[in-house]
């Protein structure tokens, strides 16, 4: 199987100075997706930004449970912001009358 578009988890952990266990815990919590090729774990390119965000926050002393809660809240925040934008645009429609 090809590994194009995949980054070795061990290389990435070495680069960011984090335990591989941390990535495994993120995966178990469904916070990131990993791919296994020939018994080696890889991170898809598309997950990299998300993973690096979690690593940054983890380095501030936030554990995986905390990251899980943050992730849910950020998703809700994003959705609320989108709703707010829609409603503001709708309000503009009536205010202009």
């Amino acid at each position: 199987m090809k590994t194009a578009g995949l980054i070795s988890t061990s290389d990435l952990c070495l680069f960011h100075n984090v335990e591989i266990n941390f990535v495994e815990m993120l995966q178990e919590a469904d916070l990131i997706k990993v791919t296994i090729v020939n018994k080696n774990t890889f991170i898809p390119n598309t997950e990299l930004q998300k993973l690096e965000k979690f690593i940054n926050l983890h380095q501030l002393g936030i554990n995986v449970e905390g990251l899980e809660a943050i992730s849910h809240l950020l998703d809700r925040f994003e959705k609320t912001q989108e709703d707010l934008r829609h409603l503001k645009n709708k309000l503009r429609l009536y205010e202009g009358e």
Binding site: L74, K88, N89, K90, L93, G96
Partner: protein, 298 residues
Amino acid sequence: MAFIDYYKTLGVSKTATDKDIKNAYRKLARKYHPDLNPDNAEAHKKFQELNEANEVLSDPEKRTKYDKYGENWQHGEAYEQQARQQQGRQGGYGGAGGFGNFTDSESFGGGDFSDFFKSMFGGGGSRQTKYRGQDFNSELHLTLLDIAETHKRTLTINGKNIRITIPAGIENGQTIKIAGHGGAGVNNGPAGDLYIKFSIADDARFKRDGINLYATVKLDLYTAVLGGEITAETLTGKVKVKVKAETQNGTKVKLKGKGMPVYKKANEFGDLFLTYDIQIPANLTEKQKQLFEELSKS
């Protein structure tokens, strides 16, 4: 260039231990981290200030220099140079030659250091720590017509030309991220991102609600009563619309597929809703008045 009290920034005393500083930084960074404060420019700025304070106070050499010269930091280099020259004359060794060799790896993000920092410590942060560049925010003002079709546009952001694709149907207030087009990273750190917020101006002819457009069309009384055909404006051109006889004032008609393009869905469009505003004829001739009178009696 104003003096920056890094201790105050982190909320610690001048006698704070390394652990106190680390804890204070972590606590505040958790509060102001950009990932936890999306679209909050104030938090981003605060986070940069925290990083800068941490960069100095968590490094023994930098902290010593900062503590030593304090508000007279501007003369710090001159003092150092003088001291080195004196040591040289006395046959001693030449010193470390500056304060740039730092190894802190705890702080991250926000490579935009203050002039104060650069003046005191040179460059933008330690030589070994990589910092992601600053995120840039920009607002692009467009009209409804501008977003009727996907097109490319060249923007000049901080002196650099960036060619972006503006997707048809983008919403007012929507933000897109252009990865890697923010400020340059420090010490080979990744560049920041560029966030472009779209501001779509109100249109004199159409009101927009999501993918649908609304317009009011004036309709003369005779066409409303007898029926006929009118030419109506759409966002991208004119179309002929049949009017049923005995159309009432305020009647709405739907022109399917003549609304806004659906965002990121090719060949899908919303609808255009026309509301008829029937115009009562004015300045009637005597004959017209008579005819109306006859009508009213019939």
